[in-house]
Amino acid sequence: MKNYKIILLVGILFCTSFFMSSNAFSQNDPLIEKVAQKLALVNDYVAEGVMKTDVSFIKASLGKVKVYFKKPNLLKVKKEGGISLLPRGGVSLTINTLLNTKQYTTIAAGTQLLNGKNLNVIKLIPTDDNLDWVISTLWIDPIDALVYKTATTTKENGSYEITMQYGDYAKYGLASKIIFSFNTKDYKLPNGITLEFGDDDPTAKQKALKNKKGTIEITYKNYTINKGVPNSIF
Protein backbone atom coordinates (compact mmCIF):
# COMPACT_ATOMS: atom_id res chain seq x y z
CA MET A 1 0.00 0.00 0.00
CA LYS A 2 2.80 2.37 1.01
CA ASN A 3 4.86 1.46 -2.02
CA TYR A 4 1.86 2.06 -4.24
CA LYS A 5 1.49 5.53 -2.91
CA ILE A 6 5.13 6.35 -3.57
CA ILE A 7 4.92 4.99 -7.08
CA LEU A 8 1.81 7.03 -7.71
CA LEU A 9 3.45 10.20 -6.42
CA VAL A 10 6.58 9.67 -8.52
CA GLY A 11 4.36 8.93 -11.48
CA ILE A 12 2.40 12.14 -11.05
CA LEU A 13 5.57 14.19 -10.67
CA PHE A 14 7.07 12.61 -13.79
CA CYS A 15 3.96 13.22 -15.81
CA THR A 16 3.68 16.79 -14.65
CA SER A 17 7.27 17.61 -15.50
CA PHE A 18 6.96 15.94 -18.87
CA PHE A 19 3.81 17.87 -19.59
CA MET A 20 5.39 21.13 -18.54
CA SER A 21 8.59 20.70 -20.47
CA SER A 22 6.77 19.66 -23.59
CA ASN A 23 4.55 22.65 -23.13
CA ALA A 24 7.55 24.94 -23.20
CA PHE A 25 8.61 23.84 -26.57
CA SER A 26 5.31 23.32 -28.27
CA GLN A 27 2.44 25.21 -26.74
CA ASN A 28 3.66 28.79 -26.33
CA ASP A 29 1.34 31.57 -27.33
CA PRO A 30 1.93 32.48 -31.00
CA LEU A 31 2.02 36.18 -30.11
CA ILE A 32 4.90 35.56 -27.74
CA GLU A 33 6.65 33.64 -30.48
CA LYS A 34 6.12 36.61 -32.77
CA VAL A 35 7.60 38.95 -30.22
CA ALA A 36 10.46 36.55 -29.62
CA GLN A 37 11.20 36.35 -33.31
CA LYS A 38 11.38 40.08 -33.54
CA LEU A 39 13.73 40.21 -30.62
CA ALA A 40 15.82 37.43 -32.06
CA LEU A 41 16.96 39.88 -34.71
CA VAL A 42 19.02 41.61 -32.08
CA ASN A 43 22.17 39.78 -31.03
CA ASP A 44 23.52 42.69 -29.09
CA TYR A 45 23.14 46.40 -28.78
CA VAL A 46 24.61 49.44 -27.16
CA ALA A 47 22.18 52.21 -26.45
CA GLU A 48 22.76 55.68 -25.22
CA GLY A 49 20.16 57.19 -23.00
CA VAL A 50 19.27 59.50 -20.21
CA MET A 51 18.37 58.02 -16.88
CA LYS A 52 16.11 59.61 -14.36
CA THR A 53 15.81 58.25 -10.87
CA ASP A 54 12.62 59.03 -9.03
CA VAL A 55 12.69 57.47 -5.60
CA SER A 56 11.23 59.41 -2.71
CA PHE A 57 14.36 59.22 -0.59
CA ILE A 58 16.81 59.84 -3.41
CA LYS A 59 17.81 63.17 -4.80
CA ALA A 60 19.58 62.58 -8.03
CA SER A 61 19.82 64.48 -11.24
CA LEU A 62 19.40 63.19 -14.75
CA GLY A 63 22.37 61.21 -15.88
CA LYS A 64 23.63 59.91 -19.19
CA VAL A 65 23.74 56.14 -19.36
CA LYS A 66 24.87 53.50 -21.77
CA VAL A 67 22.93 50.26 -21.91
CA TYR A 68 24.70 47.17 -23.17
CA PHE A 69 22.86 44.01 -24.17
CA LYS A 70 24.06 40.69 -25.45
CA LYS A 71 22.14 37.52 -26.18
CA PRO A 72 20.74 35.64 -24.47
CA ASN A 73 20.32 37.60 -21.29
CA LEU A 74 23.33 39.82 -20.52
CA LEU A 75 22.39 43.40 -19.75
CA LYS A 76 24.31 46.22 -18.15
CA VAL A 77 23.39 49.81 -17.50
CA LYS A 78 26.43 52.01 -17.08
CA LYS A 79 26.30 55.59 -16.05
CA GLU A 80 28.86 57.68 -17.82
CA GLY A 81 31.50 58.55 -15.24
CA GLY A 82 29.28 58.38 -12.26
CA ILE A 83 27.29 56.42 -9.78
CA SER A 84 24.05 54.87 -10.93
CA LEU A 85 21.17 53.64 -8.86
CA LEU A 86 19.24 50.79 -10.41
CA PRO A 87 16.35 48.75 -9.12
CA ARG A 88 17.82 45.69 -7.51
CA GLY A 89 17.90 42.86 -10.05
CA GLY A 90 15.15 44.56 -12.00
CA VAL A 91 16.91 46.00 -14.99
CA SER A 92 18.12 42.68 -16.24
CA LEU A 93 14.54 41.58 -16.60
CA THR A 94 13.75 43.31 -19.86
CA ILE A 95 11.75 41.66 -22.56
CA ASN A 96 14.86 40.44 -24.26
CA THR A 97 16.20 38.73 -21.22
CA LEU A 98 12.80 37.30 -20.35
CA LEU A 99 12.05 35.85 -23.71
CA ASN A 100 15.48 34.89 -24.94
CA THR A 101 15.83 32.17 -22.35
CA LYS A 102 12.86 30.38 -23.89
CA GLN A 103 12.43 28.59 -20.61
CA TYR A 104 8.88 29.46 -19.83
CA THR A 105 5.37 28.44 -20.40
CA THR A 106 2.63 30.88 -21.36
CA ILE A 107 -0.92 31.38 -20.25
CA ALA A 108 -3.22 33.71 -22.14
CA ALA A 109 -5.12 35.99 -19.79
CA GLY A 110 -7.44 37.92 -22.07
CA THR A 111 -7.11 41.49 -23.26
CA GLN A 112 -6.85 44.82 -21.53
CA LEU A 113 -7.11 48.40 -22.64
CA LEU A 114 -3.95 50.31 -21.79
CA ASN A 115 -3.28 53.88 -22.92
CA GLY A 116 -5.86 53.55 -25.67
CA LYS A 117 -4.42 50.31 -26.95
CA ASN A 118 -6.17 47.00 -26.75
CA LEU A 119 -3.45 44.67 -25.51
CA ASN A 120 -3.27 40.95 -25.07
CA VAL A 121 -2.32 39.93 -21.58
CA ILE A 122 -0.07 36.90 -21.43
CA LYS A 123 1.46 35.39 -18.34
CA LEU A 124 4.86 33.74 -18.40
CA ILE A 125 5.86 31.09 -15.93
CA PRO A 126 9.48 29.98 -15.95
CA THR A 127 10.21 26.32 -16.42
CA ASP A 128 13.76 26.58 -15.16
CA ASP A 129 13.99 26.72 -11.38
CA ASN A 130 17.26 28.56 -11.61
CA LEU A 131 15.74 31.66 -13.13
CA ASP A 132 15.25 34.39 -10.57
CA TRP A 133 11.75 35.36 -11.56
CA VAL A 134 8.59 33.61 -10.52
CA ILE A 135 5.97 35.01 -12.85
CA SER A 136 5.81 37.73 -15.43
CA THR A 137 2.80 39.28 -17.09
CA LEU A 138 3.20 40.87 -20.50
CA TRP A 139 0.88 43.33 -22.17
CA ILE A 140 1.38 42.90 -25.89
CA ASP A 141 -0.11 44.71 -28.86
CA PRO A 142 -1.20 41.93 -31.23
CA ILE A 143 -0.90 44.25 -34.24
CA ASP A 144 2.74 45.29 -34.01
CA ALA A 145 3.85 42.54 -31.63
CA LEU A 146 5.37 45.03 -29.20
CA VAL A 147 5.35 44.61 -25.45
CA TYR A 148 4.08 47.75 -23.77
CA LYS A 149 4.21 46.63 -20.22
CA THR A 150 5.58 43.84 -18.10
CA ALA A 151 4.99 43.03 -14.46
CA THR A 152 7.46 40.61 -13.01
CA THR A 153 7.68 39.02 -9.61
CA THR A 154 11.17 37.92 -8.68
CA LYS A 155 12.31 35.44 -6.11
CA GLU A 156 14.44 37.78 -4.11
CA ASN A 157 13.98 41.31 -5.27
CA GLY A 158 10.28 41.96 -5.12
CA SER A 159 8.02 42.96 -7.97
CA TYR A 160 8.74 45.26 -10.87
CA GLU A 161 6.71 46.89 -13.50
CA ILE A 162 8.30 48.00 -16.70
CA THR A 163 6.45 50.27 -19.08
CA MET A 164 7.75 50.81 -22.56
CA GLN A 165 7.30 53.30 -25.33
CA TYR A 166 8.49 52.73 -28.85
CA GLY A 167 9.98 54.86 -31.56
CA ASP A 168 12.54 54.39 -34.31
CA TYR A 169 13.69 50.96 -33.21
CA ALA A 170 10.27 49.42 -32.88
CA LYS A 171 11.01 46.98 -35.68
CA TYR A 172 13.63 45.37 -33.46
CA GLY A 173 11.26 45.43 -30.53
CA LEU A 174 13.51 47.95 -28.79
CA ALA A 175 11.90 50.66 -26.72
CA SER A 176 12.62 54.35 -26.92
CA LYS A 177 11.70 54.77 -23.30
CA ILE A 178 11.60 52.33 -20.42
CA ILE A 179 10.13 53.07 -17.03
CA PHE A 180 10.89 50.69 -14.20
CA SER A 181 8.52 50.91 -11.28
CA PHE A 182 9.27 49.14 -8.06
CA ASN A 183 8.32 49.20 -4.45
CA THR A 184 10.81 50.91 -2.17
CA LYS A 185 11.51 49.94 1.36
CA ASP A 186 12.05 52.41 4.16
CA TYR A 187 15.31 54.22 4.24
CA LYS A 188 16.68 55.48 7.51
CA LEU A 189 20.16 55.89 8.89
CA PRO A 190 20.65 56.76 12.55
CA ASN A 191 21.85 60.29 13.25
CA GLY A 192 24.80 58.85 15.07
CA ILE A 193 26.11 57.37 11.85
CA THR A 194 25.39 60.26 9.55
CA LEU A 195 26.43 62.76 12.24
CA GLU A 196 23.52 64.93 11.22
CA PHE A 197 21.98 66.67 14.10
CA GLY A 198 20.40 69.62 12.43
CA ASP A 199 16.83 69.82 11.38
CA ASP A 200 15.95 67.32 8.74
CA ASP A 201 14.54 68.43 5.45
CA PRO A 202 10.79 68.38 6.13
CA THR A 203 9.84 68.14 2.46
CA ALA A 204 11.83 64.95 2.11
CA LYS A 205 9.95 63.46 5.02
CA GLN A 206 6.58 64.23 3.54
CA LYS A 207 7.54 62.79 0.22
CA ALA A 208 8.79 59.65 1.87
CA LEU A 209 5.40 59.18 3.46
CA LYS A 210 3.24 59.68 0.43
CA ASN A 211 5.27 57.88 -2.18
CA LYS A 212 6.48 54.40 -1.59
CA LYS A 213 6.96 53.57 -5.24
CA GLY A 214 10.14 54.35 -7.05
CA THR A 215 10.67 54.68 -10.76
CA ILE A 216 13.73 54.70 -12.90
CA GLU A 217 13.24 56.01 -16.38
CA ILE A 218 15.61 55.54 -19.27
CA THR A 219 15.04 57.46 -22.46
CA TYR A 220 17.07 56.04 -25.30
CA LYS A 221 18.61 58.30 -27.87
CA ASN A 222 20.05 55.76 -30.22
CA TYR A 223 20.83 52.10 -30.49
CA THR A 224 23.83 50.52 -32.11
CA ILE A 225 22.56 47.08 -33.02
CA ASN A 226 24.51 43.92 -33.76
CA LYS A 227 27.92 45.60 -33.86
CA GLY A 228 29.29 43.28 -31.19
CA VAL A 229 29.69 43.87 -27.47
CA PRO A 230 32.58 42.28 -25.59
CA ASN A 231 31.65 40.06 -22.65
CA SER A 232 34.02 41.97 -20.40
CA ILE A 233 31.46 44.76 -20.11
CA PHE A 234 28.95 42.70 -18.17
Binding site: A60, G81, L195
Partner: protein
Protein backbone atom coordinates in the same frame (compact mmCIF):
# COMPACT_ATOMS: atom_id res chain seq x y z
CA UNK B 1 49.16 97.42 12.63
CA UNK B 2 50.72 95.25 9.93
CA UNK B 3 53.94 95.05 11.92
CA UNK B 4 52.01 93.88 14.98
CA UNK B 5 50.30 91.14 12.98
CA UNK B 6 53.71 90.26 11.62
CA UNK B 7 55.14 89.98 15.11
CA UNK B 8 52.25 87.86 16.32
CA UNK B 9 52.44 85.53 13.34
CA UNK B 10 56.18 85.27 13.81
CA UNK B 11 55.67 84.22 17.42
CA UNK B 12 52.93 81.71 16.57
CA UNK B 13 54.96 79.99 13.91
CA UNK B 14 58.17 79.93 15.91
CA UNK B 15 56.49 77.94 18.65
CA UNK B 16 56.70 74.17 18.51
CA UNK B 17 53.17 73.92 19.92
CA UNK B 18 51.74 75.42 16.74
CA UNK B 19 52.80 72.44 14.71
CA UNK B 20 51.16 69.93 17.04
CA UNK B 21 47.80 70.81 15.53
CA UNK B 22 49.09 70.46 11.96
CA UNK B 23 50.65 67.12 12.88
CA UNK B 24 47.51 65.96 14.66
CA UNK B 25 45.29 66.82 11.70
CA UNK B 26 47.66 65.03 9.32
CA UNK B 27 47.83 61.96 11.56
CA UNK B 28 44.05 61.78 12.00
CA UNK B 29 43.37 62.17 8.31
CA UNK B 30 45.99 59.68 7.21
CA UNK B 31 44.74 57.11 9.73
CA UNK B 32 41.14 57.48 8.57
CA UNK B 33 42.17 57.42 4.91
CA UNK B 34 44.22 54.30 5.51
CA UNK B 35 41.34 52.65 7.33
CA UNK B 36 38.92 53.48 4.54
CA UNK B 37 41.40 52.37 1.90
CA UNK B 38 41.71 48.99 3.58
CA UNK B 39 38.21 48.42 4.83
CA UNK B 40 36.19 51.17 3.20
CA UNK B 41 33.97 48.92 1.16
CA UNK B 42 32.54 47.17 4.19
CA UNK B 43 31.95 50.59 5.73
CA UNK B 44 30.14 51.70 2.59
CA UNK B 45 28.18 48.45 2.50
CA UNK B 46 27.15 49.03 6.09
CA UNK B 47 25.95 52.53 5.28
CA UNK B 48 24.09 51.31 2.21
CA UNK B 49 22.35 48.39 3.89
CA UNK B 50 18.92 49.94 3.57
CA UNK B 51 19.50 51.20 0.06
CA UNK B 52 20.74 47.87 -1.14
CA UNK B 53 17.39 46.33 -0.23
CA UNK B 54 15.83 48.30 -3.03
CA UNK B 55 18.55 49.42 -5.35
CA UNK B 56 21.87 48.42 -6.73
CA UNK B 57 24.41 51.16 -6.44
CA UNK B 58 26.83 50.95 -9.28
CA UNK B 59 30.00 53.04 -9.40
CA UNK B 60 32.78 54.22 -7.16
CA UNK B 61 30.83 55.23 -4.09
CA UNK B 62 33.89 55.38 -1.89
CA UNK B 63 35.66 58.06 -3.89
CA UNK B 64 37.72 61.04 -2.79
CA UNK B 65 34.70 63.31 -2.47
CA UNK B 66 32.88 60.99 -0.08
CA UNK B 67 36.07 60.36 1.89
CA UNK B 68 36.48 64.11 2.29
CA UNK B 69 32.89 64.41 3.48
CA UNK B 70 33.39 61.65 6.02
CA UNK B 71 36.64 63.26 7.17
CA UNK B 72 35.01 66.65 7.57
CA UNK B 73 32.15 65.15 9.53
CA UNK B 74 34.58 63.55 11.90
CA UNK B 75 37.22 66.25 12.06
CA UNK B 76 35.20 69.41 12.25
CA UNK B 77 34.24 68.26 15.73
CA UNK B 78 37.85 67.86 16.77
CA UNK B 79 39.66 70.61 14.94
CA UNK B 80 38.05 73.26 17.18
CA UNK B 81 39.91 71.68 20.05
CA UNK B 82 43.17 72.15 18.19
CA UNK B 83 42.24 75.72 17.37
CA UNK B 84 41.55 76.34 21.05
CA UNK B 85 45.08 75.19 21.83
CA UNK B 86 46.49 78.29 20.14
CA UNK B 87 43.64 80.80 20.34
CA UNK B 88 43.06 80.36 24.06
CA UNK B 89 46.77 80.84 24.63
CA UNK B 90 47.15 84.08 22.68
CA UNK B 91 46.79 86.43 25.64
CA UNK B 92 46.84 84.29 28.74
CA UNK B 93 49.93 82.50 27.50
CA UNK B 94 51.79 85.79 27.32
CA UNK B 95 50.35 86.89 30.63
CA UNK B 96 51.68 83.69 32.13
CA UNK B 97 55.03 84.08 30.41
CA UNK B 98 55.22 87.70 31.56
CA UNK B 99 55.70 89.10 28.07
CA UNK B 100 52.30 90.73 27.87
CA UNK B 101 53.61 93.73 29.80
CA UNK B 102 56.40 94.11 27.26
CA UNK B 103 53.90 94.24 24.42
CA UNK B 104 51.52 96.57 26.20
CA UNK B 105 54.29 99.03 27.02
CA UNK B 106 55.07 99.54 23.34
CA UNK B 107 53.63 102.57 21.54
CA UNK B 108 50.58 100.72 20.28
CA UNK B 109 47.18 100.64 21.87
CA UNK B 110 45.93 97.51 23.53
CA UNK B 111 43.14 97.43 20.97
CA UNK B 112 45.73 97.29 18.19
CA UNK B 113 47.55 94.48 19.90
CA UNK B 114 44.33 92.57 20.48
CA UNK B 115 43.27 92.99 16.88
CA UNK B 116 46.71 91.89 15.70
CA UNK B 117 46.58 88.89 17.98
CA UNK B 118 43.11 87.94 16.82
CA UNK B 119 44.06 88.33 13.17
CA UNK B 120 47.18 86.24 13.72
CA UNK B 121 45.16 83.55 15.51
CA UNK B 122 42.68 83.69 12.64
CA UNK B 123 45.46 83.25 10.10
CA UNK B 124 46.61 80.22 12.05
CA UNK B 125 43.05 78.89 12.09
CA UNK B 126 42.59 79.41 8.36
CA UNK B 127 45.96 77.83 7.59
CA UNK B 128 44.98 74.83 9.68
CA UNK B 129 41.75 74.61 7.71
CA UNK B 130 43.61 74.89 4.41
CA UNK B 131 45.93 72.14 5.57
CA UNK B 132 42.91 70.08 6.46
CA UNK B 133 41.30 70.80 3.10
CA UNK B 134 44.47 69.86 1.28
CA UNK B 135 44.77 66.54 3.10
CA UNK B 136 41.09 65.68 3.32
CA UNK B 137 40.05 66.77 -0.14
CA UNK B 138 42.98 66.81 -2.51
CA UNK B 139 44.90 63.90 -1.06
CA UNK B 140 41.67 61.87 -0.90
CA UNK B 141 40.90 62.80 -4.51
CA UNK B 142 44.38 61.65 -5.45
CA UNK B 143 44.26 58.42 -3.45
CA UNK B 144 40.63 57.42 -3.99
CA UNK B 145 39.87 59.11 -7.29
CA UNK B 146 36.74 61.12 -7.99
CA UNK B 147 33.21 60.23 -8.92
CA UNK B 148 29.73 61.43 -8.09
CA UNK B 149 29.17 62.22 -4.45
CA UNK B 150 26.75 59.72 -3.01
CA UNK B 151 25.69 61.01 0.36
CA UNK B 152 23.64 59.03 2.77
CA UNK B 153 21.77 61.34 5.05
CA UNK B 154 19.47 60.31 7.86
CA UNK B 155 16.29 60.29 5.85
CA UNK B 156 17.37 60.39 2.27
CA UNK B 157 20.17 60.00 -0.16
CA UNK B 158 21.72 62.73 -2.24
CA UNK B 159 23.56 61.96 -5.43
CA UNK B 160 25.56 64.93 -6.59
CA UNK B 161 27.23 64.82 -9.96
CA UNK B 162 30.97 64.90 -10.01
CA UNK B 163 31.16 68.26 -11.78
CA UNK B 164 28.82 69.74 -9.22
CA UNK B 165 30.88 68.83 -6.13
CA UNK B 166 34.05 70.88 -5.96
CA UNK B 167 32.42 74.29 -5.63
CA UNK B 168 30.34 72.89 -2.78
CA UNK B 169 33.54 72.01 -0.96
CA UNK B 170 34.83 75.52 -1.54
CA UNK B 171 31.60 76.80 0.03
CA UNK B 172 31.82 74.30 2.85
CA UNK B 173 35.39 75.28 3.65
CA UNK B 174 34.55 78.96 3.61
CA UNK B 175 31.66 78.20 5.94
CA UNK B 176 33.91 76.05 8.13
CA UNK B 177 36.32 78.95 8.41
CA UNK B 178 33.54 80.97 10.02
CA UNK B 179 32.82 78.08 12.38
CA UNK B 180 36.43 77.77 13.37
CA UNK B 181 36.87 81.52 13.70
CA UNK B 182 34.01 81.46 16.17
CA UNK B 183 36.02 78.97 18.18
CA UNK B 184 39.08 81.17 17.78
CA UNK B 185 37.19 84.16 19.11
CA UNK B 186 35.74 82.17 22.01
CA UNK B 187 39.21 80.93 22.94
CA UNK B 188 40.42 84.49 22.58
CA UNK B 189 37.75 85.79 24.93
CA UNK B 190 38.53 83.15 27.53
CA UNK B 191 42.20 83.94 27.08
CA UNK B 192 41.63 87.60 27.87
CA UNK B 193 40.12 86.69 31.21
CA UNK B 194 42.87 84.47 32.56
CA UNK B 195 46.46 84.64 33.66
CA UNK B 196 47.52 81.21 32.48
CA UNK B 197 46.74 79.20 29.38
CA UNK B 198 45.46 75.95 30.87
CA UNK B 199 42.23 77.51 32.12
CA UNK B 200 41.18 79.12 28.83
CA UNK B 201 42.21 76.11 26.74
CA UNK B 202 40.28 73.69 28.92
CA UNK B 203 37.46 76.23 29.23
CA UNK B 204 37.13 76.68 25.47
CA UNK B 205 37.29 72.95 24.83
CA UNK B 206 34.71 72.28 27.54
CA UNK B 207 32.39 74.96 26.19
CA UNK B 208 32.59 73.47 22.70
CA UNK B 209 32.04 69.92 23.92
CA UNK B 210 29.21 71.00 26.21
CA UNK B 211 27.38 73.06 23.60
CA UNK B 212 27.95 70.44 20.93
CA UNK B 213 26.26 67.89 23.15
CA UNK B 214 23.36 70.28 23.72
CA UNK B 215 23.17 70.86 19.97
CA UNK B 216 23.03 67.17 19.19
CA UNK B 217 20.59 66.01 21.84
CA UNK B 218 17.05 65.89 20.63
CA UNK B 219 15.45 66.72 23.92
CA UNK B 220 12.58 69.23 23.78
CA UNK B 221 14.09 71.48 26.44
CA UNK B 222 17.31 71.82 24.47
CA UNK B 223 15.50 72.22 21.18
CA UNK B 224 14.35 75.64 22.37
CA UNK B 225 17.88 76.89 23.01
CA UNK B 226 19.49 75.09 20.10
CA UNK B 227 19.04 77.88 17.53
CA UNK B 228 20.98 80.21 19.82
CA UNK B 229 23.99 77.97 20.26
CA UNK B 230 26.89 78.60 17.94
CA UNK B 231 27.69 74.89 17.93
CA UNK B 232 24.35 74.21 16.24
CA UNK B 233 25.31 76.51 13.40
CA UNK B 234 28.90 75.32 13.13
CA UNK B 235 27.74 72.07 11.55
CA UNK B 236 25.73 73.66 8.79
CA UNK B 237 28.53 73.47 6.23
CA UNK B 238 26.69 70.29 5.32
CA UNK B 239 23.93 72.37 3.80
CA UNK B 240 26.17 72.90 0.79
CA UNK B 241 25.70 69.23 0.05
CA UNK B 242 21.94 69.15 -0.05
CA UNK B 243 20.37 69.79 -3.35
CA UNK B 244 17.00 71.07 -4.56
CA UNK B 245 14.70 68.87 -6.59
CA UNK B 246 12.14 69.98 -9.14
CA UNK B 247 8.54 68.82 -9.42
CA UNK B 248 9.69 65.65 -11.17
CA UNK B 249 12.00 64.83 -8.27
CA UNK B 250 15.03 65.54 -10.39
CA UNK B 251 17.93 67.09 -8.56
CA UNK B 252 18.71 70.55 -9.87
CA UNK B 253 22.36 70.79 -10.69
CA UNK B 254 24.21 73.61 -8.95
CA UNK B 255 21.45 74.22 -6.44
CA UNK B 256 21.51 74.32 -2.67
CA UNK B 257 18.43 73.21 -0.79
CA UNK B 258 18.43 75.68 2.02
CA UNK B 259 20.39 78.85 1.30
CA UNK B 260 18.58 80.87 4.00
CA UNK B 261 19.77 78.34 6.57
CA UNK B 262 23.37 78.88 5.49
CA UNK B 263 22.90 82.65 5.58
CA UNK B 264 21.35 82.54 9.04
CA UNK B 265 24.13 80.35 10.35
CA UNK B 266 26.80 82.58 8.86
CA UNK B 267 25.16 85.62 10.45
CA UNK B 268 24.90 83.92 13.83
CA UNK B 269 28.54 82.85 13.68
CA UNK B 270 29.70 86.29 12.55
CA UNK B 271 27.74 87.86 15.37
CA UNK B 272 29.42 85.54 17.84
CA UNK B 273 32.85 86.39 16.46
CA UNK B 274 32.20 90.11 16.72
CA UNK B 275 30.78 89.78 20.23
CA UNK B 276 33.54 87.57 21.53
CA UNK B 277 36.33 89.70 20.08
CA UNK B 278 34.76 92.99 21.21
CA UNK B 279 34.25 91.60 24.70
CA UNK B 280 37.84 90.44 24.90
CA UNK B 281 39.10 93.86 23.78
CA UNK B 282 36.91 95.59 26.36
CA UNK B 283 38.20 93.29 29.08
CA UNK B 284 41.83 93.80 28.16
CA UNK B 285 41.44 97.58 27.84
CA UNK B 286 40.13 97.83 31.38
CA UNK B 287 42.48 95.28 32.82
CA UNK B 288 45.46 96.15 35.01
CA UNK B 289 48.40 94.21 33.68
CA UNK B 290 49.80 92.65 36.82
CA UNK B 291 51.57 89.68 35.34
Amino acid sequence: MWSLINVELYKIFRRPRTYIAFGAVAALIVVIQLGLKIDGNSYAAFLMKDINDTLTVDGKVLNGYLICYILLQLLLVHVPLLVALIAADMISGEANLGTLRLLFSTPYSRTSWMMAKFIAASVYTILLLIWLAFLALFVSMWVFGTDDLFLMKSNYVVLIQQQDVLWRYVGAFVFASFSLLTVTSLGFLMSSMAGNSIGPIVGTMSAIVFFTILSTLNIPLFTIIKPYLFTTHMNNWKEFFDIQVNANNEAIKGSILNIPKIKTSLSVLTLHIVLFVSASIMIIKKKDILS
